[in-house]
Amino acid sequence: MRRRDLIQGTAIAAALAAGGLGARGAAAQQAGDPIRKLVILSRPQSNNPQAYQAAEIIAQEWRKLGLDVEIRPLPRQQQSEVVWNRRQEWDMTMWQMVGRPERSDPDELVFNLFHSSTAPTGFNFVGWADPEYDRLAEAQRVETNPDRRREIIRAAQERVNQGQPYLFLVHPKQVHAFNKAQLREGTLVNQAGLGLRNIWTYLGVEPVGNRRDMVLNASEPVQAIHPLWISGATDSWVTELVWDRIMRIGPDGLPRPWAAETVTQVDPTTIDITIRQGMKFHDGSPVTVDDCIFSFEAPAIGNEVPMYRPFVLNIAKVEKTGDRSFRITLKQADAGFFTSSLAKLNIIQKSAWEPVLRDYQNRPENIERFVVERPIGSGPFKVSRARLSEEIVLERNADHWAAPKIERWILRIVQNVEATLGMLNRGEINFLADYTGDPDLVKQLVSRNRNIVMNEAVDVGFQFLGWNMRRPPFNDPAFRRALSAAVNRELMAEAAWNGFAEPANSHVSPALPFWHREGIVGMLPSGLDQAQRILQEAGYRVVNGRLHYPAGTREQTTPN
């Protein structure tokens, strides 16, 4: 069913609403003030068609409940400014969480999205404060037994289902495609929650024919190639190939030793690490334990490395225990440490970075302003050439213990989405890594060109509508639950995402089956009648087609 069907259904549903809430006895006498016009902030249709169309579908459903809803398109910067900096001044916003390797561990999303401590200035911009959820979010963080932690995380998802701090919409599917005449089919790796665009693909893919390169696209220019600065999403694709890390997130979504031969959890706060023998930086110098220790200490020095600092704050000390081994002692147990720190921090050369750090401590700006002229890591690829807004060329590091099979990894910056399909069709790129257009067009291309293979995978991220719980009526869980129930997520996935998405009702994606609470979508009542029932039970009334607060409640919030 598509949008047209929805529009046709409006009249029927409106009649239902009138006969349901509207006709109930002396509604007017039992009702409070009419609910003000509610505004949904969204990116413009031209900029993010899926989110805008989802907002339209949502507004349409809610109008059937008697709400006055306006969709207000804003450019990204302006939307972010309102949502992030003016936390009292908006009602609802369309937003998204994107998939990243480190989000394979649920801690980042479970804690930072909804813990009340992040509400004033952090990522809990919707302002949800639930002591029981806080308790669960804190408990999962220190529980190192995976099975017990899984139970806590599942309980946290159920708590979110009860409270509906977000109106979860869908987990989109990542759409990637490649040319099997140039890249051997079966050698690209599907990583849980990320699809084919991941390091395991770049390491394992085998070239076919004369062309020995993988040429892929990105829609955003790279800002910097910097081991101590998370400068952008596309930038991370490059840095993770140039610099090694102690661990990496495997195709199964779980952390596994990488630059480390072994990682041993001695007790909840002690981790012993032995690094591989014979590792070398791209300039030929050896990777030592001192380099590894420095890589964990550097982000904690002053405020020089603000982006990585949060990931080392829990480290009490790092000690050398042998020529190839060191011990990390944590201040408190941290279940996500392997993923959020060991698989995230880049191993850097102490001899190169120590003087730079010292120099920047005497400057007003931090080390992120340092321009890395010659990026030197120890990773499986070396930087050959970087024109940040045009093309990044990495070449294989033949000395690496996991040397790639392709000669070069070439990232082309292509902002015209339609042109990327043309490029794939003509063989100008052989891996469609970043595609935000209509997936049906990729399907059509596959049907025309037998060399093109398409792959879809459910994302770790999700699309949602955030409502501001600082502002009534969103501070009422029953109201949130009713509005959430009114949205048909199956229809949403079909209509707005053309079927390339799965319905969502949790911040832990089904792409992570170990952590995901199975059946969570079904735990939410669904349908307009259910939404009306919840509102009725909570005291909301429809008077003259307009939804009113429960009796005695005044509308005191200024429309934004």
Binding site: N112, L113, A224, N303, G422, M423, R426
Partner: protein, 325 residues
């Protein structure tokens, strides 16, 4: 003070106004560069540190004074997002934009002048009846549409041209000059330059045609006819030369205008020029880069205006620029 001196002072004043407007415009826009880094782990402390690092914690007037002081020293600052000097980034993108603009302008003006003269000569004919609406349509058509049509036909359809970029994937060159004069670069340049030329040719064509129609009424043309010269000789050797003056002025202004006006074509063809860089900078609230790019575009525009004025006086000595003879 001579005429040139006066025009130079005016140019400097205009650039100061542009620089001030650029400064205010970006700072008065909602948002700041820290919003590019919104992340689940971002804290208020991190955000404040970032503002300090960018110098945005200072009062507006202090920021403005620092900005003007740096400008006087020829410093455009460092990009917030890339950390590199703005001048370096702009100079990296500028040759590609200049190559695209100049090639498109030259093609557009050569075609426009010849076709404009031809259509003036053919006034009232069926050819003119068909050609003028066609020219107006290409002039009115959005650039992105023209670009996409050309891409769809010549790149995706026939496969004659690449779908974007300024060079083939992984192509290596010894220097920027080597790249700019390589066959691969020219091959990538053809389609975007054609799209831009199709869009740009309308102005010189219509200008040439209308000026030609005026010139053709002049006495010297009647005299040439009376002398028995062929119609073609009259049009090309006499009328067209006299009609070129406004077209030459438009060409100079066109260079200035097009340097900053290629945003759409550069985006459609993934051409890594100044226009695309400017869009990225504005979207990311990269104030120094956006200011620097705007300022350089404005400087080129002001310079080209100056050149056009001087050129006009040189080509047509009757133009006195208000000087008393």
């Amino acid at each position: 003070m001579g005429y040139v001196g006066q025009r130079l002072i005016q140019a400097v004043f205009v650039l100061w106004v542009v620089a001030t407007l650029c400064f205010l415009m970006f700072r008065l826009m909602p948002g700041d560069p820290t919003l590019n880094y919104i992340d689940t782990s971002m804290t208020e402390e991190q955000r404040q540190n970032m503002l300090v690092a960018f110098g945005l914690d200072q009062p507006l007037y202090v920021q403005y004074l620092i900005y003007l002081k740096n400008l006087l020293r020829g410093e455009l600052g460092n990009s917030f997002l890339q950390g590199r000097p703005v001048l370096e980034l702009v100079l990296e993108a500028l040759p590609l934009t200049v190559a695209l603009t100049l090639s498109a302008l030259i093609v557009a003006y050569i075609f426009g002048v010849i076709a404009g003269a031809f259509l003036a000569w053919k006034r009232g004919s069926l050819t003119e009846g068909v050609a003028i609406p066609l020219v107006l349509a290409t002039r009115a058509a959005p650039e992105f549409w023209l670009g996409m049509i050309l891409l769809a036909i010549f790149a995706f359809g026939y496969g004659w041209f690449p779908s974007g970029g300024a060079a083939s994937a992984g192509a290596e060159y010894g220097s920027e000059w080597e790249r700019l004069f390589s066959l691969d670069f020219l091959y990538h340049l053809l389609l975007p330059a054609l799209a831009l030329a199709v869009y740009l040719q309308g102005l010189p064509l219509l200008l040439m045609r209308s000026t030609m129609l005026e010139v053709m009424q002049d006495e010297f043309v009647t005299m040439a006819r009376m002398k028995g010269l062929s119609e073609w000789t009259i049009v090309i050797r006499h009328a067209a030369r006299n009609a070129l003056l406004p077209v030459a002025t438009a060409f100079a202004l066109g260079i200035g205008g097009s340097v900053g006006g290629n945003v759409v074509v550069e985006t459609v063809f993934s051409w890594p020029g100044l226009g695309r860089m400017l869009v990225t900078a504005v979207q990311g609230s990269d104030y120094p880069l956006a200011q620097g790019a705007f300022l350089i575009i404005a400087a080129v525009l002001v310079l080209m205006n100056l050149v056009a004025d001087l050129l006009y006086g040189w080509l047509d000595p009757r133009v006195s620029h208000g000087r008393k003879g």
